[in-house]
Amino acid sequence: MLQVILKRIAIAIPVILVVASVTFFLVRMAPGGPFDAEKVVPPQVMKNLNAVYNLDAPLIIQYRDYMVNLIQGDFGPSFRYPGRSVTEMIYTGLPVTFELAFYAIIVAMIIGVLAGVIAAVKRNTMLDYIPMTIAMIGICMPTFLLGPLLVLFFGIQLELLPVSGWDSLAGDKILPSITLGAAYAAYIARLSRGGMLETLSQDYVRTARAKGLPEYKVIINHALQGGLVPVVSFLGPATAGLIGGSFVVETIFQIPGLGRFYVEAAFNRDYTMILGTTIFFSTLIIFFNLLSDIAVLLMNPRARSEA
């Protein structure tokens, strides 16, 4: 197993370097610069600004300098927010995004696994059709629709929960976590139903039943471990997706997470911020994929022996 992990890490490093290089040149190819504004900056000022941020150097020199700094762990200063470094901004937004993703994954797991398992056990009954139809709607419904709908109902009509904020008012984390978790809950429900159906038809489950075990024990002790393998493999990319894709929820609920910095950096042509966040997110995706692969190896003896 250690060999597998080391191999994956060895592949990850050049992947990150390629991502950094491609992003570096792509952002500079995009029309418009970080200091373009509706109120035009006088040429003299633009010259000074370019000099301050090393943008007057040849592109290849800028690339070399950036990569040298990157290897030392320095993402550089933000162009949009003078006095802030990209590393500082990632550190500021990341805990919030992580927390949001964590709650969302909990919501997704509880709702998804429960619905999926019930649907599989009560196959072809209303308890199968109803959760699976809701799951399909959940997959199709975008967060920018679900979020405002939840806010209108729970925040404005019932006045039960705050409509926005994070760590400011009591209960302000509930609606964003549900909104972000809902789509993933739907995926997990479908995956766990599929996994459980396959496991429930296995011989060892039949043996357990034949031995006279009560049904809940068969499901919890015997079927669940195998049935949830597809869910676990999905959790890695899902967590990375939750972190990278939380932008919409962060905007709807006014949450100071990293997703907002990421997208706004692209609009502002904040070169260093775009690069920093892209590299950071790529690393996260690679890391979470590795984690879920390890979990699958631990849960599935067949995969372990193949590895």
Binding site: D36, N48, G83, T92, F154, S164, T251, Q254, P256, F267
Partner: protein, 535 residues
Amino acid sequence: MKIKYLSYFFLLNFILACSPSISPVDDGLEKQILHFGNGTEPQGLDPHIVTGVPEHHLLISLCEGLTIANPRGGENLPGVAESWQISEDGKTYTFFLNKSAKWSNGDLLVAEDFVWSWERILTPSLGSQYPDMLYYLEGASDFHQGKTSDFTSVGVKAIDDHVLEVKLKNPTPFFIKLLSHYSTYPVHKKTVLQHGTIDDRNGQWTRPGNFVCNGPMNLKTWELNKEIIVEKNPLYWDAQNVKLNQIIYYPVTNESTEDRMFRAGQLHVTNVVPLEKCPVYIENKNPNLRIEPYMGTYFYRVNTLHPILKDKKIRQALAFAINRKQIVEKVSKCGQQAAYSFTPPGSAGYEPDTEVPFNPELAKSLLAEAGYEDGKNFPLLEILFNTQEGHRKIALAIQQMWQENLGISVQLVNQDWKVYLAREMTGDFQISRAGWIGDYEDPNTFLDTLRPNRGNNKTGWENKEYDRLVELANKTNDQEKRYEYLNEAEKILIDEMPIIPIYTYVRQYQLSNDVKGWYPNLLDTHHPKFIYLER
């Protein structure tokens, strides 16, 4: 049965836990805390580096210039300068500073602080984006452009601790108004130098704990993308008249989120009203909706270097084929006023005497005179605009008007903000949507932009007579005479039509009825020292 009762118990608990006991707006009323929707996350709090409206809202709380904008509009009020004298030729200003003006750390604010601060903003290597606000001073542009490195050649001098003398190149009747703009604010030399050099853009002096300035409020906390809290500065020279204890600025980029926050009692004032909500709120007579005159013009910029559009008759034909009234009543639908001049009417008492008729017949005949009878053989015309629903709707309406009234084909080109800016800058457009908001209440802030060699002109249009008249106006001390010259210049501009005015902006936002001391004004400046909360 037990399970049933248990679930009821949990549900009840959930509901009780969730119910917010008191909304921030109600809580704010008691504690005099204003909850302020501030658009985007500010770039920073260094008045010499940042640009933008959210930054302006914060900086008028935290710092103060020689004058402050009048909350009811009109002439500026004393700020750090308690009075001033202007020489007869209008070129020398002597400011008498308030002797009780202090920095938030208790240091006395002296005239030399302004001299050093203005040296800082004019230091080329700082890369300030607003040095031109001080270009009216003798020698300022030469210093900023590196023609001299001797700051004593710039027309600002501390006569003593409390007297500041400023020498201008020309009499500039709106100079006092410039002094309430944050780019002219003083910064605390010791603090700035403690965290960097005079030209350090990345100095940490603006962080909570480090920040020292001289406004009615002090910086308390700053959480990125969440909120900035400022609290009353007890050392402010007019602290006894400041009623608010705190202002919390929220960087809410999403208009719908902001609207929901207002409805849920989380904000006293919003930055905007969502485009689609405005007509609904007008119809429902929403008591919190505010629609107020604003010193801004929405217009179409014409590339006069384009082979077709260099013909004045074509530009006029395009302008006369637009039904502005219909645009404001049926498309923008939020109280905007049809515009017939570049400078919004009523700016500091200036009333432009220009007309842009909606006359399809005249427009057609002008197009025919230019060689395109009924629009035949007229090449496909492009309207460039940045991605926003409001711009798209207006472009669609104008596309249809030009097609119907002139018989020409029009294509809409929608671009991302930075791409749109880059295309405008390089002249890679035919017609582009644009907006201009005044920096100070004077027609010069509009008319100056269309002089030759001004970066914001972007139309390629140059007119010597226009340039001469605006220059002449800036050298004239007599306001009436000055406005005559500017009106003449405006007539030339509207006749030549390098820009096609569409409508005059309004400020549309929501304001809680608890907010008092908040008055409509053209620049939309609401100084916190006049605001208080009362129900």
